[in-house]
Symmetry: C2
Subunit: 167 residues, 2 copies
């Protein structure tokens, strides 16, 4: 009655190391962002997503799709950013239902101010012990996993989402 093989030690080690490394990294990065910019990691990600676009704008739904959030969670976070004057919200002219989030000059400035320290930290914590080639290998493997995870989301172990509310 075991649908899959029970993970050999090598696989277990990979899993544990992944979880521990990402946990430590998230913690450290979140702290740096709060100290240097008063931003949570989530807020930073939203701002960085906006910064990627040349015009610094993006639809709510597009942001949500990238960052896993529930809609309401994104509304909350964007409201925080707006309160801080880092983004603005306007309704789209194309689709009156849609809301376009735009980074303000202050938002982009803060992003620019926080980014160097962020990059430094990632460099020191995550990449320092790897050669350039190893970093590429790591990125390649994780990239494939990401593709797999986002493509195969049947999530077979937790399939019914709308059928069995369980209680």
């Amino acid at each position: 009655m075991s649908p899959t093989s029970p993970l050999d030690p090598e696989q277990l080690a990979a899993y544990f190391a992944l979880m521990e490394v990402s946990s430590l990294l998230q913690h450290a990065v979140d702290q740096q962002l709060r100290e240097e910019g008063g931003l949570s990691y989530t807020q930073f990600q939203i701002l960085a997503t906006l910064g990627e676009n040349p015009d610094g704008r993006r639809r709510m739904t597009d942001i949500a799709d990238r960052l896993v959030h529930s809609r309401s969670g994104l509304t909350y976070q964007v409201a925080q950013l707006a309160k801080a004057g880092l983004v603005t919200r306007e309704s789209s002219s194309d689709d009156e239902r849609a809301v376009i989030v735009a980074a303000t000059p202050q938002g982009l400035a803060l992003l620019g101010r926080v980014l160097p320290g962020h990059v430094d930290l990632v460099q020191q914590l995550l990449l320092a012990p790897l050669t350039a080639r190893e970093a590429t290998v790591l990125g390649g493997l994780l990239g494939r996993i990401r593709t797999h995870m986002t493509a195969i989301p049947p999530r077979s172990a937790a399939p019914r989402r709308k059928n069995a509310p369980k209680s």
Copy 2:
């Protein structure tokens, strides 16, 4: 004024992929654990830590060290587990200050009930797209990073913890 090189595309890709993969995996795993066992991922980790020991016991501090928590956060989580009858707490006979957390039979039973689905999910989401060799390589790289992160925690970007409460 750039203390470190600004991350080439390969490095950036590795960083982003790591964060996205771990985020997706955490989310999926947390959901499975809640559905099948009513456990948060943190609670599962505590229980699993106890399960590792032959006698199913461990000191609070030892758990906290492994799982990054603040003391009070661990107290809270262990209290939740105790409330659910999954662990008990007794003061150590060696050191009257210390508290020993022990998994109850129900706790170990729940762990056993939840583990197969957990392993399956990790297998399907994380490991399926990798060959055995690749999993080993991934684990090796991440293991080295973990060692580095836990050994070098000068956390140079956020050093003073007790000096500058900042406000």
